[in-house]
């Protein structure tokens, strides 16, 4: 089956086959990463522009290295959040300029939902969404899926995944939820009701306010990151209250399957979102995800450079 793909906007519009195809391609990219000479010629002569309207150095470095390992020219554009107004109003303008300069890829992170899709429909370059507002962050979710697949040797039927935390503001959680639903997993979420998107049940997700119910018999527990405490306007009284009810600790893990794994996009609010005990335990896969991230982003760039691919 051949697929056509210009942009990666979100997992919501990807099929299960396509998700698996990206992960498989990322597996081969890992081989490149394990060589002493990490340069592969896949994107020679191509250029990648990294356009970030929000700063998260980790993701940025990951995309940058992914491009460089594949021999692309990588340009980093930083639009600081402080002088946001001109940058904000000019996404269309900015996109067209970068497009005309001959960029082949634009990796964008922007604080407004739908901005990546908007950019993609207005430029000829391939657009990779590295996070838009409170919508999606596909690469982050794909790498979690990749890590789970590695750890479990595949996606078994009836995999049970529980998300704990702020789902509304977490694009990582949303991308993951769409991805897991596509792959046929059983998804449950738990968090303060004010931080769970409305009508989430209608997509086939089980919604709880009691995390112990959500994690029952779970194979995977994912922590969704909280915003800074002062950014909540009455949706959450305090971190203190949150941690007493929703902190992922050993006791909560005891409700899940014995071999349960805990994942989190990081950086973690230690002792609030996840207990330090759990973070240090081998069940917690926070660090394993990072090396996969580079391989996965290499795979995404590579597939887009061919505008899709052929699945076997």
């Amino acid at each position: 089956m051949s697929i056509y793909r210009k942009d990666y906007i979100g997992l919501k519009d990807m099929s299960a086959e396509e998700i698996l195809y990206i992960i498989e391609t990322a597996d081969t990219m890992k081989y490149v990463l394990n060589q002493p000479n990490k340069k592969a010629p896949h994107l020679q002569g191509k250029s990648v522009v990294i356009l970030f309207y929000e700063n998260r150095s980790r993701t940025k470095v990951s995309y940058e290295l992914a491009g460089q390992y594949l021999s692309a020219n990588v340009v980093n554009m930083n639009i600081s959040e402080k002088n946001e107004t001109p940058g904000f109003s000019d996404l269309l303008e900015m996109g067209k300029i970068i497009d005309q300069m001959g960029a082949d890829f634009i990796v964008i992170r922007h604080p407004v939902s739908g901005s990546a899709k908007f950019l993609a429909s207005n430029v000829s370059a391939s657009v990779i969404n590295a996070g838009d507002g409170i919508n999606e962050n596909p690469s982050q979710a794909l790498l979690e899926l990749m890590t789970i697949k590695e750890r479990m040797g595949g996606f078994k039927r009836g995999l049970k995944v529980a998300f704990i935390g702020d789902i509304t503001h977490s694009r990582y959680a949303k991308s993951n939820i769409w991805g897991f639903l596509k792959l046929g997993a059983h998804v449950s979420v738990a968090g303060p009701p004010t931080l769970i998107p409305e009508d989430l049940e209608s997509f086939g997700v089980e919604v709880y306010s009691d995390p112990y119910k959500a994690v029952k018999n779970a194979d995977v527990i994912m922590g969704a990151r909280l915003l800074a405490e002062d950014r909540y306007s009455n949706e959450l009284p305090s971190y203190n209250e949150y941690k007493n009810m929703f902190k992922i600790d050993k006791r909560m893990l005891s409700y899940a399957k014995d071999e349960v794994i805990v994942m989190h996009p990081g950086p973690i609010n230690r002792g609030i979102e996840i207990d330090s005990d759990v973070i240090e335990s081998p069940q917690c896969l926070v660090d394993d995800q990072i090396s996969n991230g580079v391989a996965l982003r290499m795979a995404m760039l590579y597939i887009l450079s061919m505008r899709g691919g052929i699945m076997i």
């Binding site: 919501k12 739908g114 899709k117 908007f118 838009d132 507002g133 694009r171 009508d199 209608s202």
Partner: protein, 429 residues
């Protein structure tokens, strides 16, 4: 003076009769085989068996003039209205400067006399600057000639203030047009709170934001005994509240807009900013409830909700795109397709929503219906002719519409205001 031959008139009982109509400033004569009067210049229009309808009255329209002439101005908005069959429009006060004093009212009225193709009835802002904190000089504006008081599409959140406005304005016998949206609940929302908001990571405006204010206004109206009009009803809950209030005998009226009974939040799919409107599009159950409300008379009127903006402000990220829709030219066609062609309503009932009830609410009785002695504002409508909605051909400066490309049955052939042809299909007047 115009003589319309071979037109079909729908009378009060819904009976259809072929008649000739002689019209000037007012409708002079309705009858069979009328001959054009001698020694006067009389224009003869053959309606060819099309309906001759009373001119539509729009209760909710932004003219953007003065202040935002780049978006729309009196000349384009009234020509756009003429094309859409509206012979009377109202102007929301959210211009710059805001219509909150007699000077601006006088300005718009005199400018409308010069530029306007249709009747323009000016709404005065009920609070100073539209800020919702202090009562405006209502009496002065009434003297200057406003048709109604409005909040300019921005709900007056302060109940004590609204209560005072209601009681104070009752001495002028002037309609009160209110928007219902709790600003705290609507906050930064851009779409209906629910499935689509969750799927696309957009902030939602819950139905409660509207319904709480609808019930507040109903209660205030009941307690003070003052009439109140609720514009832009978009939810099932609001329809139910108004229905219950009317049953109880509260002096409340309401209107809705064509997009609230034809489109749903699903149209936002793919971040379609053309359907970014306020209040947001809801779900099918709300659409069905609104149609039901129109059928049983709970919803009195249909307004266009013409809120033009620039295409640049629509061609943006969804969160930052402006709210608004260009609908004067599509309102009747879309409503006719959705309600009459589909068999949910009779044409005469739909005309009541566009003419009789708006005239009643705005106290423009002389513009209601096609009868001898009423104002000479008429529309000729051919119910069989099909056409596509093509936004680039809009007269309005806002040349975009979520209905673009839609095929609608029924075409407005001619619009007459005060005995003058202001729009004729297939040739510009």
């Amino acid at each position: 003076m115009i003589l319309i031959k071979n037109g079909i008139i729908i009378n009060q009982n819904g009976d259809e009769k072929a008649r000739d109509i002689l019209v000037d400033e007012i409708i002079l004569e309705i009858g069979e085989n009328i001959n054009p009067p001698k020694d006067t210049d009389c224009n003869i229009i053959d309606a060819k068996g099309g309906y001759v309808l009373p001119g539509f009255i729009d209760m909710n329209c932004e003219i953007c003039d003065p202040g935002y002439e780049n978006i729309e101005d009196l000349s384009t908005v009234t020509r756009s209205a003429a094309k859409g069959g509206f012979t009377s429009i109202t102007s929301q006060p959210n211009t710059s400067p805001v219509v909150d004093n007699k000077t601006v009212v006088n300005y718009i009225i005199s400018r409308a006399l010069k530029l306007s193709m249709v009747n323009v009835h000016v709404y005065g802002q009920m609070t100073v600057g539209g800020e919702g904190t202090k009562i405006a000089e209502i009496g002065e504006m009434v003297t200057a000639g406003i048709a109604a008081l409005s909040d300019g599409g921005k709900c007056v959140a302060d109940a004590a203030l609204l209560r005072n406005i209601m009681r104070y304005s009752s001495m002028f016998n002037i309609p009160l047009i209110t928007t219902c949206e709790d600003p705290a609940l609507a906050a930064k929302g851009v779409v209906n709170a629910g499935k689509v908001a969750s799927a696309f990571g957009l902030r939602g405006i819950p139905r409660e934001a509207e319904e709480i204010m609808v019930s507040r206004n109903i209660i205030l109206s009941e307690r003070t005994g003052c009439r109140i009009h609720i514009s832009k009803v978009s939810t099932k809950g609001s329809v139910e509240l108004v229905r219950a209030a009317k049953t109880k005998g509260v002096f409340v009226t309401c209107d809705t807009q064509p997009h609230y009974f034809t489109l749903t939040e699903d149209n936002v799919d793919g971040y379609n900013t053309l359907v970014k409107v306020k209040p947001p599009l809801r779900c099918w159950e709300d659409v069905d409830a609104i149609i039901e409300g129109l059928q049983d008379g709970t919803i009195d009127a249909i307004s266009s909700g013409h809120t033009p903006t620039t295409i640049e402000s629509k061609h943006r990220e969804f969160d930052m795109a402006s709210f608004g829709i260009s609908s004067l030219e599509t309102a009747f066609g879309v409503s006719y397709s959705a309600l009459v062609t589909s068999g949910k309503m009779k044409l005469s009932q739909l005309i009541d929503k566009f003419n009789k009830y708006p005239a009643k609410i705005l106290l423009l009785e002389s513009k209601s219906g096609v009868e001898k002695g009423r104002d000479g504002d008429l529309v000729i409508f051919n119910p069989e002719e099909e056409h596509f909605i093509t936004p680039p051909n809009f007269v309005s400066k806002a040349k975009f519409s979520p209905f673009g490309g839609m095929m609608v049955k029924g075409k407005l052939k001619c619009t007459i205001v005060g005995g003058e042809v202001v729009y004729m299909a297939d040739c510009s007047v």
